[in-house]
Amino acid sequence: MKFTSAVYWYCCPGLPRHSPSLLRFDYYFRVVMNKLSVRWQTTAILMYCLFALLLKADEAACLNSPADYMQSAVEEIMAILNDDQLKLPENSQHRRELILTVVRHHFDFKEMSKLTLGKHWQDMADADKDHFVELFSRLIENSYINKIETYSDEKIIFLKESVRENKSLVPTLIKHNDLDIPISYKLYKAQDRWRIYDVIIEGVSLVQNYRSQFNDIIMKEKYAGLVKRIDEKVGKIPVEGQ
């Protein structure tokens, strides 16, 4: 991993990471570094670390509002989706990995898994839980990524968010075929960071919808049946670029 990105990643977990400007900055940083003497290189690195630490201190202040946070997350993904370089077929795998890192960073898949399984969650062994979280995150990633891919040209409007204690609801509107599709994100704050635990499209909660299906499947086919069904589904959803 590139040095500047690494520092940036450590210091600013919530800020956009894959913005084209950052990638460009990374490139120029290395070009300049190659031309400097060792002493100046050390100085430059120290300066950069200091700058990044300042950003880190600032981050808490500038990302207080969950709507800002969501906006930066969405812009991050949009930057990847709209990056011409990454649109090239040979970069498609890289592009998907970039999107995945961003999505994994912002969604709390463990919490989502817990909510979708509801009362069945407590009866499960820890290993099963981990396995399910992994399966479920791949399911959401696939369907969510396929969804936002189709929305990449649409305009997203952020509406006024509501916050109560450590939870918040960020409503957005997406214009699609001259219709406004309301998509709300439910977030909660843990360790000074907002994370998404539910997506509500046209009033329909994703977690709740999966829960009603999973519950039905567990009743009829037990947990093993559910795992089998998700496995099939994750394998079947077309992976972008393949």
């Binding site: 909510l115 001259d178 509500i200 046209e202 499947i217």
Partner: protein, 270 residues
């Protein structure tokens, strides 16, 4: 897609209600429903933060005693979509450009003004009813018979979508049992009754009463036109769901509840 299915496909409702209505008064499900309206009101409390992150409880469930029949009609509708509606809508969409189809959708929507107006009034939302009147007047004149939507684009007047099913919900009636009607798609006892009542307010219903063929043709035209704008949505839904029947049932119930909740929220703006 859900919206399309739940929109008035009136003639089938009339047919089914002929079967339903005789036992109306002493229908046990309906009675249970009225009794449980306290429960319904509680569940629709206007708190977006009340969820399972804190307490482990299951969300809204609907009673579905007719599941085998409903599942049969769900598959029937599925085939109807893939074998009839989708190919026709595809061909139609290939002939007419998207802008034109959006205009036609607007024009049909404009015709249903009486439904929205009356239901806003029934829920005591006089301001929203007024907005609907303005929308209708502006769009019928400046919007050329409702093909354009200058009321929204120029004056910023948003649609205040209300129907009788929402009104009943607003009054505190619960869902009742779940139905999946052939052609009409997902509905509940309450919303089916709502559709029946709304058909007296909709111009399409009036046309149908005078001339069944014209009414059906118009209705079919509307469905094809609207479907042509959302091709792919149903396919995506099928792809992402494990049991499409359960998924659609849950989505429908959630969708209607959020509509009713929105209604309650809007009511505070006078």
């Amino acid at each position: 897609m859900i919206k399309d299915i739940s929109k008035a496909k009136l003639i089938a409702v009339l047919l089914f209600l002929l079967v339903l209505v005789p036992g109306w008064g002493n229908h046990s499900c309906l009675r249970v429903n009225f009794q449980s309206s306290a429960w319904a009101a509680e569940e629709m409390s206007d708190d977006p933060f009340l969820d399972d992150l804190d307490q482990q409880e299951t969300g809204p469930e609907v009673s579905d005693p007719l599941e085998p029949v409903n599942r049969f009609f769900f598959h029937f509708n599925d085939k109807l979509y893939f074998w009839a509606l989708k190919p026709v809508a595809r061909a139609y969409g290939a002939v007419l450009p998207q802008d034109v189809r959006i205009c036609i959708r607007n024009a049909f929507h404009n015709l249903f003004f009486p439904v929205r107006f009356v239901n806003n009034v029934l829920q005591g939302k006089f301001k929203n009813a007024g907005i609907e009147v303005s929308r209708f007047l502006i769009n019928t004149t400046a919007g050329v018979a409702g093909f354009g939507d200058p009321a929204k684009d120029v004056f910023g007047l948003e649609i205040k979508e209300e129907d009788l099913g929402q009104t009943f919900g607003y009054w505190g009636m619960g869902d009742g049992i779940y139905f999946c009607w052939p052609v009409l798609g997902p509905s509940t006892m309450r919303d089916t009754a709502g559709l029946f009542g709304d058909s007296y307010l909709s111009p399409l219903g009036w046309v149908m009463q005078n001339d069944l063929n014209d009414g059906l043709a118009l209705h079919g035209g509307q469905q094809v036109n609207n479907t042509s704008l959302v091709i792919g949505d149903y396919e995506a839904f099928l792809q992402s769901s494990f049991d499409p029947y359960i998924s659609l049932r849950d989505a429908y119930i959630q969708y209607r509840q959020s509509k009713i909740k929105d209604s309650e929220k809007n009511a505070k703006i006078y």
